[in-house]
Amino acid sequence: MISLLSSSPRALLVAVIAASPLLWPLPAKAQSDIPVGVIMPITGREARPGQYQREGIELAIKQINDGGGIFVKSLNKKLPIREVFYDDGSDQARSASLAERAMSSDNVVAVIGGYSTVLGEAESVMADRYQTPWITPGSAASSIFSKGYQYTFGTLSSVENLGYTTGQFLGWLVDQGKLKKGLKIALAVENTDHGVDYVNGIQKWIGEHAGYFTIVLNEKFELGGTDFSGLLQKIKTAHADIFLSDAHLQDYVTMQRQYLQAGMYHQMISYGARGPEADARKALGPGIDYIFAGIWWSKDLGYAQVKKFNTDYTAAYNRPPDSWYAATAYDAMRTLAQSIEKAGSLKKDTIRDQLRSGELRGSLLPGQTLKFGKTGQVANAFVIVQNKPDGKIDIVFPSDAATGPAIAPKPQN
């Protein structure tokens, strides 16, 4: 015992010295590329969307590098982008730590990352701390952008707008005569800022349009649950006409499955920003027909650049883009590249200034322009898509972007 106590400090010293080469920073070398940090979950709960966002970013990088890279005026040459990728495993502490690592020892000029609100919140702290621009193509909660930080940017419009657009869509259906007035809505949202924003948006619309809908249930559930039977029972007993939820992909699939098993029915069903995902279709088949979702982008938008993106993406990954994930990430990278070029140097402050003031024309997003607002978040419009039988997905709202009719109420099973 005593020998343990006395040998250990020496052993400790040896261990520390032995381990330090692992941490030794590499010597600096001449600038031969532009390092950009990419932090996405590709394992863990958010693996699927994280993977898609990574693919969008990497497609953009490849296309830029195929053209020789970005022209940096201060060095008077084109430099390729070098992606510094980290998997944060859907873990928030790790996400923050990796962002810090990328911004400090990897010396990136910017970081694109943060799929989902909590991961985004954790990473965003590092942006101002290390004064490195940080763009998130996957977090939309306004709380990230409302703290007065200077280096945070997001290519997703706020979730409150999503809720508001959902309200607009439902109201439009009433005006069209497809739904009756005064229907009851049951809300069951994820217990995060995302869910809270969503409910706020819906309530805002309902408040502005009296008589259209009433909310009879407003519940929150914990993310990542396996058994929603209790919640669904509660929804069942609320006897509502419309069921609106806001959930992550995994919870959407689980809940919808148990919803179907419980033999429930509502005239309209939505899971917020989830609906058309291929994984859901694979898991539930016709069980997701007629579910609608408010999303930031759809591959069926009629723009020429969207068609080109679809073709390029399918060629690169052997499948069409799934829901909206890859597109917002793709444009995040493109706008970053444009800002670097406009900045004329690799100084992070200048790049940040360009991100702030610039805009990306020919964006994939609805409206075809990507411009960061005062808080750093974009304010592009949403599209409502609805799942149709046989795996089809239609844009059903707004009417000028629609590719098919909105089916309401949902046909009975």
Partner: protein
């Protein structure tokens, strides 16, 4: 065989005592050496790991009462600092309050649960930790599931955090040494060896375990607070996570449970591995910990330190042969 044991001469003893101090001095010079923010961050996180590891060991190693729910103290400490700093309190004050709060919580938890033995206690601690996590996820006052952000209007100085972490780890180790070499520590050892015999000898196991629990909880709470200030954003799923309780248990076991420096080594190893592994080989780290744990339990329950002792003995025998 062990006739070759050298008598610990005065000089040797001074050298052995000087080593930790030397280590401390070396670590204190790191920020000045300007080795990069990431290097400093990794060391900082390692200091926190060491603190929590050493703290747990006071209850789990010395007293032999393994708790699987130490994340509850870590999380409470983190939230104390977050709420406190957002209310305008200075960070160091909040660390103190965090320690006190965690100690009080440990009393609440320990009073009913220390009557339980064996796995029942371990399971109860998991239950408590998870229950608190769920409650915090729903408590709107602290931000609920969205977490809590600390807004500090002073510029970020990494060195401040670094030295706080180092001080915390040093304090934890000192407390551990004090406990170990005191009458209190002797009582804990007796309880660990045989609780009934200790009780018959006049040691009150219940009170002693409560005290050890409180000390361990206080240190862990302060650790949580220090972490919260650094990361500036915490959420229940992060600081109260079951994985965190697991990590806190894993470290002393890897390093060598029931010693002073074992948890330190375990914390060091964990801190470094966690950082490097998650950055480079994230898909293997569960496997690594799992295999490490299995190998340690099967072949060297004394952890890394036990391994070192064994190697030393082998080397001595080889030299003598």
């Amino acid at each position: 065989m062990s006739g070759s044991a050298q008598p610990a001469g005065g000089l040797q003893r001074i050298l052995r005592a000087a080593l930790p101090v030397l280590l401390l001095i070396v670590l204190a010079c790191v920020p000045a050496a300007n080795l990069g923010a990431n290097f400093t961050k990794v060391l900082f996180l390692t200091f926190l790991a060491v603190s929590a590891s050493v703290a747990w060991n006071i209850l789990g190693g010395f007293a032999g009462q393994a708790s699987f729910g130490f994340a509850v103290f870590y999380g409470l400490g983190a939230y104390t600092t977050a709420v406190g700093m957002n209310a305008g309190l200075g960070p160091y004050l909040t660390y103190l309050i965090a320690a006190v709060l965690a100690a009080v919580a440990s009393l609440l938890i320990g009073l009913p649960t220390f009557r339980l033995r064996g796995p029942y206690f371990a399971i109860a601690t998991i239950g408590v930790s998870e229950a608190v996590r769920v409650i915090m996820t729903n408590l709107q006052f602290t931000g609920g599931a969205s977490g809590c952000r600390i807004t500090e209007r002073v510029p970020f100085r990494q060195a401040d955090h670094y030295y706080t972490g180092l001080a915390l780890a040093a304090i934890a180790v000192c407390i551990s040494m004090l406990v170990r070499n005191s009458r209190f520590g002797l009582a804990l050892r007796a309880i660990h060896d045989d609780q009934d015999a200790a009780s018959d000898s006049g040691v009150n196991p219940y009170l002693h375990k409560i005290a050890a629990h409180a000390i361990a909880a206080a240190i862990t709470g302060a650790t949580g607070g220090v972490y919260a200030r650094y990361s500036a954003f915490i959420s229940p799923d992060g600081v109260f996570a079951f994985q965190r309780s697991v990590a806190i248990v894993l470290m002393p076991i890897i390093g060598g449970v029931n010693t002073i420096w074992g948890p330190v080594a375990g914390g060091g190893v964990y801190g470094v591995i966690e950082e490097e592994l998650t950055a480079r080989f994230p898909e293997f780290h569960l496997l690594l910990y799992g295999m490490l744990l299995i190998l340690i339990i099967l072949f060297e329950p004394g952890g890394l330190l036990g391994l070192l002792v064994r190697l030393r003995r082998l080397a001595r025998r080889w030299r003598a042969a």
